[in-house]
Assembly symmetry: C5
Homo-oligomer: 358 residues x 5
Amino acid sequence: MDKLFARRSAKTGLAPGALVHIGEQKMKHVRLNLIEYGRETDFSEREISSPIECFPFKDKPTISWLNVDGVHQVQVIEEIGTNLGIHPLVMEDILNTGQRPKIEDFDEYVYIALKMLYWNQDHAEIESEQVSLILGDTYVLSFQEGDEAGKDVFDTVRVRIQGGKSRIVKRGADYLIYSLMDAIVDNYFVILEHMGEQIIDLEEELVTNPKVDTLQFIHNLKRELVFLRKYVWPLREVVSRLEKRETNLFEESTIIYLRDVYDHTIQVIDTIETFREMISGMLDIYLSSVSNKMNEVMKVLTIIATVFIPLTFIAGIYGMNFAYMPELQWRFGYFVVLFIMALIFFAMIVYFRRRRWL
Amino acid sequence: MDKLFARRSAKTGLAPGALVHIGEQKMKHVRLNLIEYGRETDFSEREISSPIECFPFKDKPTISWLNVDGVHQVQVIEEIGTNLGIHPLVMEDILNTGQRPKIEDFDEYVYIALKMLYWNQDHAEIESEQVSLILGDTYVLSFQEGDEAGKDVFDTVRVRIQGGKSRIVKRGADYLIYSLMDAIVDNYFVILEHMGEQIIDLEEELVTNPKVDTLQFIHNLKRELVFLRKYVWPLREVVSRLEKRETNLFEESTIIYLRDVYDHTIQVIDTIETFREMISGMLDIYLSSVSNKMNEVMKVLTIIATVFIPLTFIAGIYGMNFAYMPELQWRFGYFVVLFIMALIFFAMIVYFRRRRWL
Amino acid sequence: MDKLFARRSAKTGLAPGALVHIGEQKMKHVRLNLIEYGRETDFSEREISSPIECFPFKDKPTISWLNVDGVHQVQVIEEIGTNLGIHPLVMEDILNTGQRPKIEDFDEYVYIALKMLYWNQDHAEIESEQVSLILGDTYVLSFQEGDEAGKDVFDTVRVRIQGGKSRIVKRGADYLIYSLMDAIVDNYFVILEHMGEQIIDLEEELVTNPKVDTLQFIHNLKRELVFLRKYVWPLREVVSRLEKRETNLFEESTIIYLRDVYDHTIQVIDTIETFREMISGMLDIYLSSVSNKMNEVMKVLTIIATVFIPLTFIAGIYGMNFAYMPELQWRFGYFVVLFIMALIFFAMIVYFRRRRWL
Amino acid sequence: MDKLFARRSAKTGLAPGALVHIGEQKMKHVRLNLIEYGRETDFSEREISSPIECFPFKDKPTISWLNVDGVHQVQVIEEIGTNLGIHPLVMEDILNTGQRPKIEDFDEYVYIALKMLYWNQDHAEIESEQVSLILGDTYVLSFQEGDEAGKDVFDTVRVRIQGGKSRIVKRGADYLIYSLMDAIVDNYFVILEHMGEQIIDLEEELVTNPKVDTLQFIHNLKRELVFLRKYVWPLREVVSRLEKRETNLFEESTIIYLRDVYDHTIQVIDTIETFREMISGMLDIYLSSVSNKMNEVMKVLTIIATVFIPLTFIAGIYGMNFAYMPELQWRFGYFVVLFIMALIFFAMIVYFRRRRWL
Amino acid sequence: MDKLFARRSAKTGLAPGALVHIGEQKMKHVRLNLIEYGRETDFSEREISSPIECFPFKDKPTISWLNVDGVHQVQVIEEIGTNLGIHPLVMEDILNTGQRPKIEDFDEYVYIALKMLYWNQDHAEIESEQVSLILGDTYVLSFQEGDEAGKDVFDTVRVRIQGGKSRIVKRGADYLIYSLMDAIVDNYFVILEHMGEQIIDLEEELVTNPKVDTLQFIHNLKRELVFLRKYVWPLREVVSRLEKRETNLFEESTIIYLRDVYDHTIQVIDTIETFREMISGMLDIYLSSVSNKMNEVMKVLTIIATVFIPLTFIAGIYGMNFAYMPELQWRFGYFVVLFIMALIFFAMIVYFRRRRWL
């Protein structure tokens, strides 16, 4: 249900910009993680307990990255937003996890909403998590729904920054936000591989042993693709708008990298469309294999009935009790009838062979 | 029928701009409600009996909002329109409840036609009401078809104005009209949730116990989506044109809010498309579950007929009355035949097992 | 056939601009009707016998409207065209009733081709008539295929001009041509209502009593929609081009009215698309109701056959004439067998109930 | 096969501009026909044996039209092309009969590739021939695949030039090339009429007597439409680009005529689309008439089986040979049983009537 | 699987520009082949063992073409890229064989990714190989996945350069890269011919002897078309962007040749779409031939059952053992019954004839 749409109705009637969390609470406490680095500064990372701790970052020359795990505590988001001069509508969007991937440019900062996707192996379905990114001139904010485990797709970016030699450290906040987007899109390929494996399994099952469940399975896959498409299609426009320099927070040299993300997005979309075509082909094969089976069943019925019904009729005739039935008294009447029956039987068999039913 | 199209034929042959009410009369008397407010003025709200009472508002510095419930009394609309210099074609559009969502810019005012939607739980269908909005520099006119109960989606906006602290009070007429549009679009999410629940119910029914009615139910949902789509798709263009500042009645700071309405509209459209895909998937499942059932029925018939027809034939043979049938005189002829029948029976069962029919 | 395409082949090989009538002759004699009016002139209307009579109108200050019923007499069209300096290709288009709705701007005049539609109640189909309009600075020419009855959709416009108080009289030729187009488009709504009623009838029939004819009926409706669409879709572009002021024969104030015609056209197209979706939904329902019926038939067959074939087999066994069949001599053998048969019968019934076949 | 695609593989690996004929050789010798005319010059037409004869035409004030029948002799094309300064790629295109309709502007001349279509009545299929046109300032070249008969669609143009009074003679080379294109497009309507007649025949057959062949026939028509579409769609763009004056070889006054060709092209496309919709509707009708027939067959089987199987069972019971079966001894036992059978029979009939199976 | 998508997941989490080979290793050692030529220089071709050997080419006036067979050795690509100042993302793209056809312009050089396609006759499927092309001002780099055999589509280009008289030798690097692209696109026609032959075989099989495998075969073809389309569609945009002179590395005179490649690409796409339509038509024919067969089977069953079940019933009646059954004692009872049975039999036959079942 949640995948279909977020239950927004609770918000109906509230003023725009009214801050209400829409979605599921996935962890208990909000976790704030602040990373600071720079070309000439050392890397520092710390968990902070209150947003207030981190606001000096605005005036520092370093690049600051504040990652927020958990968006269900309205006051945390509000405090951060108010201090950094974020528009109320953006705060509202961060809190609403049913957001569509989008980008909004407010000159001083850019707001980007994305979907992080995970593959749930148990239910063979996609799980989505909303990620909000805000890019200022020297800072990046990232908001995740989070979970208790606390492991996420951004870990690889963190490791690269820690190392200190990565390109990220030598560049500005725009390159950091690109790295985060790249990490998210790269992760989509993992989802696609999981789905691809399922499709290949399905294809094999379809050829060797199609079952009634197969249809349900095909439809589940199709449905997951519908959701995947819903999450990825708008991303195309998001990256395209960034790449076309609609905002001035991105440096020229970072644009080339955005083009790379754009290419990946297109590739993901291409693969989704290919999957869709393959699945619809599988549906056709399934349905026609069902009707082929039906045909076979009907053939067996027809052959048996067509062969034996006339024979039974003949037996029926000589089972009649008429007082005067000359054949009954013939010496070889019985054997003649048996012989005729055998003749009919083989004639039928030959007929079916001719029609390729046997 | 009314949902399919308004019965316009009554108007055929009349001059353009001829004022005729097209649609259903939903309430007895037209109700006029005037709200006045401003940054430095107190809030006032009153029911007025004749449009004339309210015309001084044009020269006041306050923001005036005249809400008209009921568009079936032509002379009321005409009086308002004539006094405010509204183009006859706009008056015609207000009276014609079969309008398509649209926007028309007349420099001094903007005319916006929208659809307010309600969910009729009893018939599981969408009910629509036409809402016409006119934005002047200091005034807003809203025309609803209304109903006797008099409760509507604009109530929350009224409450926010009354409170006096809302952002609405601090801003101009453009923000008020945005708030009204926002209230209408927000309400669409309620419709979507109702439909979403129906879809989930349907899916469950489809898996556990598909019935002949299920098809009718699926088609009803599909049909409601067709109407919903028809109402919402044009809205996208309406908001997009407003957001692109084609009119100068909107301030820069309100444009950001319009972008928010635009996002919501896109989200509604996205969800409608997802629903459509799901419903068409459900139709496939239903149809193939019907043909699977057929297959099962055919299998049962085939198994029974295939097993017993040959056996009956054998019984028929020994029911013949030939004078000379040697087997009949054998001591254990009867038991040998019974045994052969049992053999055939089990051979058949094994055969069906092999073909996975049992 | 004529609806599918006009038999143009007769024209193959002729020079472009060669004047040949393509289409059906719908009336015997061409009828010419000239109306003259103006702000300060009295209204005059007269039937004229030869086009020559009317040519002084070019130099008069009044607005002249020449309506031609019947386009099968080449020399009439040619005479009018040559006198008014109409391009030969336009004359060719007027004569060819298989024209697509289109607009062509020749600076000094604009040529507009439209389709007038009538609903033929007897055959439940749309009949189309080609209407050509030419707008000069002070005159309007209209060419209809006409019919003997001589009643047409322009009558209402004539009445409004006669009245003398209509907006038409106060405005130029551009407003007159708008009025004619408006009359034609308004008439499309009548067609839509007729089709809508048929769709509603069909839906009811589909639920209560679907017949083999129903399919044919659905397809007829679908086909009429194909034609309707073919006639209306290009109109959208025609009006849109007029509205975008591609020609300078239209005054600013008339443009607003054209926007209204444009809206109506979009509404007609919208409704056509909705009808199409509904009809394709009806086709689905029809087809699956057919297969549901088949299912029921199969079930009845299966139940009867499955119940009685085994019973008949048992009866067959005891109908065998073996000399030694111990059961036959039992005192209650007959009743025991009857009882077993009854047992099998009820077991079957229970089984079918369980599978929900009964 | 040739219609599917030209066998280009022979060319793989050759340099671009390498002159190789791709396609079928349709006539033995290439035929060169040169027509010269002008406003003040007399018309002259002659067959020439070598292209060299005709090259003085470049410096003459007259309009020269060189028509080449047969494109399989590479050296002829090469000689013409080299002398007139035609780009090697254009020569390659002329030789390759699998070309797509296209236009290429080389400033000094324009190259246009088109498809001439013929209706082969015997196989009920379209035959296509590639036509290449080159427009210089005072000359026109046309290349056809030709056939032995030597009759073509351009004959009517030739006749009009000969007559000397045609508009062609009074105008430049651009009007001549327009006339040739017009002749080709006009001919498409003949194809459409042939197909339209086939569709009407099919529809009738579908209603009165659908056969297994009907499906094959429907698919053949569908396939021809696929090819027709492939040939005509790109033409739209070709004419549109000419009409938008992308080349300066066309005079203003000829543009209006090109608009006419454009309209015809759109009309052809429109009709193709209508045909497609009708054919897909016919496919639906065919398929559902097949399943309706199946239904009827099943009903007959079910009625017969359902009526007689229980009756046969009853007869079977009284055919058993139990020593003690009281009914058998009853005086009217036989008649009572016959009466019961009749009762059951009529009850069944009534039941089927109720279900509308009879 | 590999065709579905490259297994990128191994790369997830790596920094952008990290050089990792994605794809299958198709040959053992990377092979480097350097060709140098010029208008006034002699042609030279040599295999080199290390990229370092070839870097002087940058300063030479000749055109240098370095072809790399095998992209699985990261350090080779890196060495070449670093020396020529190629962007790390481009190197990444060269190594990733799951690339989508694309073009990227870096002012000093242009990167083009393409797909070389081969037809695998054994599996009746398309095999793809990624080709990366880099165009500098005086050099061209080409990267292929390569295979042990070392034969490729570029051989024809090499031969033309060797000959020394080809247009390639007289022109710049831009013409060389065009020649390579042309060779690749030309090769697509070979693929299309192979598929076309398969389609024609299929069509014949469908008419003469459709089998259960046929469906699988149709779907395989459909699937190959999906892949083919995926490879060719983006190429259209690639060539279109080149042709529109978005890069300044192409000379005016080469643009005309690019237009030719563009035309070929469109032709390939056109043919793919035609194939798709034909295959979907074949699917329809297959499915309806399956249901036609079913119909025939059902008819045979129905005819036999309908004829013999009533007859068997009559025989059953006279097999009853009632003590008093007057008919049994009649002299000709038996023959009368036989006659009645024959009557019924022929009546049935006539009935089936009438219904066209026989």
